[in-house]
C-alpha cells in the first residue's frame, strides 16, 4: 500500500518530518544500523526479508485505524518470532513516529499514574533535562519526574490556629452511590468525567453503573473521617510512638479513632516524624504544643519547635535528612513566618542549621547593637548536645527552665532571630542547588562528548569497511592482470609455434 499513489483514493498519513527517509520499497541506512542483527547474515531467523515483513505489517496494522493507539500486545500475536526482537522493532517505529503518530491520539498513559502520589527525586521542579538539539532523533522530553500530589510538609496546627471557615461550610451533601443508591459513608469512587459516584462495595464488585464506564475511569476519593487530625489525636499519636516505638497495632489502639495506616502516614507527614520512627529514644513529648493560649507562649512554642527539631537532628545518628527534603522548594508564602522557619530548619542538616542560627544571631546583634549574651548562643548548641546524652526526665526539667529563661527576651528580637535563621537556611539551600546544577552540567557535557565519540567511531567503522572493499577490488584487478598476462603469453606461444615471426624479427632485421 503506497502512501501516496495514483489510485483514486489518496490516503495521507502524517509522519514527523525527521522520518521522511522512510520508504516502503527499501530498507534505509538508519534501519540497518539500528537492527544490525537482521543484516549480518548470522542467523536464519533474522534476515532483511523478515525485518521488512515485521515492519510493513506493523505499519499497515496501525494505518488500518489511525485514530487508535496501537499497542505491542495487540500485534504481537500476529507475528512469528522472538517477542523481544519484535518489541524492539515496534519501539523503533513508535519512536520515529511511523506508527502511533496522529493528532487525534491522546497520550493517556503518562497521565494515568498521576493519581498515585510519587516521591520527587533528583532535579527540582524548575529544572528539566532535555536532549541536545543536534541529534538525529526527534526531540522528546524525557518522562517527567512524577510530582508529589501531596503538597509539601504539613505541620500540626499551632494552638492559636482556629479554622474560622469550617463553621460556615455546609455539612457534606449526602452522597449516594450511583449504582446501588445507598449512602456512601466514607470512601467512595468518583468518575473522572461525570458526577457519578460509587460506593466501595459496588466498585469492588465490578458494577460500574453503566456499560461505558470502566474501572480506570474512577478515582478514589479518600476516607473523610481519617483525613482530619485534631490536636489531641496528634498528641496521642506522638506519645504512643514514643512509648511503643515500632509497634503500630498498639499505636492504633491508643489513637483510637485512627487506623494503623493513617497513623503511619500522619507520622510521615509530620516534619520530625521520620526521626521519631528512626530514633530509639524519643525525647519529644514535652515539645508538642500544649494548651497555653497567649501569644507569647505561641511564639515560644514555635521556637521550641525549631529547637527541638534541631535537637532531634543532633540526636539522629542517621545523618542529615534525605536528599529529597533538601531540594524541595519552599513555595507558599502565606503560612506564618515561624512555620516557614521551622520548615526550613527541618530541611537543612543540623550543622548547617546551627551555623546559620549563629550567623543570623551575630548579624542581628550587630544591627540591633545589643549584647550577644542575651541569646547565649554558645550554651544553646552545647547544652542541646549535652542534653541529647542526658536523661529523659532531666531533659524535660531543663527544657522548662530554658523556656522560662527565654521568655525574658523581648519578642521582637526573637522574631528577628528567627527571620535571620530562615535567611541563613535559605542561603545554604541555594548553595546546594547550585552544586547540583553544576553536576548536571558536567553530566550533560559528558553525554555530548559520548555522542561525538560514537559518531567518530561509526565513521571509522564505515571507513574500515570501505578499505576492505577496496582491498577485495584490488585483488580482483590483480587477478585480472594475471589472466591478461597469461593470455598474452599463450598468444605469443601460439604465434611462435605457428612460425609467425614478422613482428618480432625487427631486431634481426636491424
Amino acid at each position: 500500500m503506497e502512501a501516496i499513489d495514483s489510485s483514486a483514493e489518496l490516503e495521507l498519513y502524517t509522519i514527523p518530518a525527521q522520518s521522511s527517509w522512510f520508504l516502503w520499497d527499501d530498507i534505509h541506512e538508519i534501519e540497518r544500523r539500528e537492527f544490525e542483527e537482521f543484516f549480518s547474515e548470522s542467523s536464519i531467523t533474522r534476515t532483511p526479508k523478515v525485518y521488512k515483513e515485521y515492519r510493513d505489517f506493523i505499519i499497515n496494522k496501525f494505518r488500518e485505524d489511525t485514530s487508535r493507539s496501537l499497542t505491542f500486545t495487540s500485534i504481537r500475536k500476529f507475528l512469528v518470532g522472538d517477542v523481544n526482537l519484535l518489541q524492539k522493532v515496534f519501539l523503533f517505529l513508535d519512536k520515529w513516529g511511523l506508527i502511533n503518530f496522529a493528532p487525534s491520539l491522546n497520550d493517556n498513559d503518562t497521565l494515568s499514574s498521576v493519581d498515585n502520589a510519587k516521591i520527587e527525586q533528583g532535579t527540582p521542579a524548575g529544572i528539566r533535562v532535555t536532549a541536545t538539539p543536534n541529534s538525529l532523533r526527534p526531540i522528546t522530553a524525557p518522562p517527567l519526574v512524577e510530582q508529589r500530589t501531596v503538597s509539601g510538609i504539613k505541620l500540626p496546627p499551632l494552638t492559636s490556629y482556629s479554622d474560622v471557615f469550617s463553621d460556615l461550610k455546609k455539612p457534606d451533601d449526602v452522597l449516594l452511590c450511583g449504582h446501588c443508591a445507598e449512602r456512601c459513608d466514607s470512601a467512595f469512587y468518583q468518575h473522572n468525567k461525570s458526577i457519578v459516584n460509587l460506593c466501595e462495595k459496588c466498585f469492588k464488585n465490578g458494577n460500574y453503573g453503566g456499560e461505558t464506564n470502566a474501572a480506570g475511569d474512577f478515582k478514589l476519593v479518600g476516607d473523610s473521617a481519617a483525613a482530619v487530625w485534631t490536636e489531641e489525636e496528634t498528641l496521642l499519636l506522638l506519645e504512643s510512638v514514643l512509648k511503643h516505638g515500632d509497634d503500630w497495632e498498639l499505636i492504633a489502639q491508643s489513637v483510637s479513632t485512627k487506623t494503623r495506616l493513617d497513623c503511619i502516614s500522619k507520622l510521615i507527614e509530620l516534619p520530625f516524624g521520620e526521626f521519631l520512627m528512626g530514633s530509639t529514644s524519643g525525647r519529644l513529648s514535652s515539645a508538642v504544643p500544649t494548651e497555653d493560649e497567649d501569644t507569647e507562649q505561641v511564639k515560644t512554642d514555635g521556637q521550641e519547635h525549631e529547637e527541638t527539631e534541631m535537637r532531634e537532628e543532633n540526636e539522629d545518628e542517621d545523618g542529615p535528612p534525605a536528599k529529597r527534603k533538601r531540594v524541595a522548594l519552599i513555595s507558599d508564602s502565606d503560612s506564618s513566618l515561624v512555620k516557614q522557619v521551622a520548615t526550613m530548619a527541618s530541611k537543612v542538616g543540623p550543622s548547617v542549621a546551627t551555623a546559620a542560627a549563629k550567623a543570623a544571631i551575630a548579624a542581628l546583634c550587630d544591627e540591633a547593637s545589643c549584647p550577644k549574651e542575651i541569646f547565649d548562643t554558645g550554651d544553646y548548641t552545647d547544652s542541646t548536645v549535652d542534653r541529647a546524652d542526658g536523661d529523659k526526665d532531666t531533659d524535660m526539667e531543663e527544657q522548662k527552665e530554658e523556656k522560662d529563661g527565654a521568655q525574658g527576651l523581648p519578642v521582637a528580637l526573637r522574631i528577628k532571630a528567627s527571620v535571620a535563621t530562615a535567611l541563613g537556611a535559605a542561603a545554604a539551600q541555594a548553595k546546594i542547588l547550585a552544586d547540583q546544577e553544576e553536576r548536571e552540567m558536567e553530566d550533560l557535557a559528558a553525554t555530548v562528548i559520548d555522542q561525538q565519540l560514537k559518531k567518530v567511531q561509526s565513521k571509522l567503522k564505515f571507513l574500515d569497511q570501505l578499505e576492505l572493499i577496496m582491498d577485495a577490488e584490488e585483488e580482483v584487478i590483480e587477478g585480472g592482470k594475471e589472466t591478461i598476462l597469461q593470455e598474452r603469453i599463450s598468444v605469443l606461444q601460439c604465434a611462435f609455434r605457428s612460425g609467425v615471426t614478422k613482428r618480432w624479427d625487427h631486431t634481426y632485421v636491424k
Partner: protein, 240 residues
Amino acid sequence: MKALGSSGWKGPVKFRMPTAENLVPIRLDIQSEGQRYKDAFTWNPSDPDNEVVVFAKRTVKDLKLPSAFITQIAQSIQSQLSDFRAYEGQDMYTGEKIIPIKLDLRVNHTLIKDQFLWDLNNFESDPEEFARTLCKDLGVEDPEVGPAVAFAIREQLYEIATQSVASAKESRLSKKSRRGSDHGSASKASGLSMDLVKLFSFKSSVVRKRKDLDVYEPVVDLLTSEEVDALEAREERHAR
C-alpha cells in the same frame, strides 16, 4: 558463502540466564508451626551471601512469622543459589533456539493465559520489560501481576537453560563430530523449539496463520472473590 542452515551454530557460552540481567528465580514454600509461607521472586546471584540472612530476617519481621522461619528461608534460598552456581561454571550451547513460553497463572484476582515465542539466544531479552508492557497494554491494575509474569518467564528460561547445559554435556561425552550436527541436537534436546528453517525460509511469511492466532493471544480474566476462594481451595487440596 556459508550455507544458511549451519550458520546458526555458535560456540558454547558460559552458563548464565539468557536475559539482559542475570537474575535467578527463587521460589519459596515453607511450612512450619501451622503457618505456610509461599513466595516467588528474583535474586541477583552477585549479591554477597550475607544478604540472604538479612533478607530472611526482614521478611520474617515484616510478615510477623515465627522466628523458626528465618533459618528455613535462608537455607532454601541458599540451596537454590548454590544450584545455580553449580551450573555457572559449565558450558551451554546457544544455537538458534526459539521456544514457546506459556503463561497460565493467577495473581490475586487476575488470571492470565498467554503464549509467545522467546529466543534463548537473545541475551538482551528482558522479562521484566515484557511483563510491564503486557500489563500496561492490557490495562492490568494489580501491581503484583507484572512481577509474577516476569518471574514465570524467568523460571521457564532457567529450566531450559539448565537443560541445555545437560545436553551440552551429553553431546560432548558422546564425541560426535561437531560440524552441523550440534545444531540439530541442541534444538532437539529441549524438544520444544520450533522448526526454524521452515518458518523463516524464503517462501513462507512471518505473519502467523489465522488458525494459530488464538493460541498466541493473551487472555486476561478478572475473577470475583468467590471464584478466587474456590480456586484457592482447589489448589490447597491438590497440594496435599
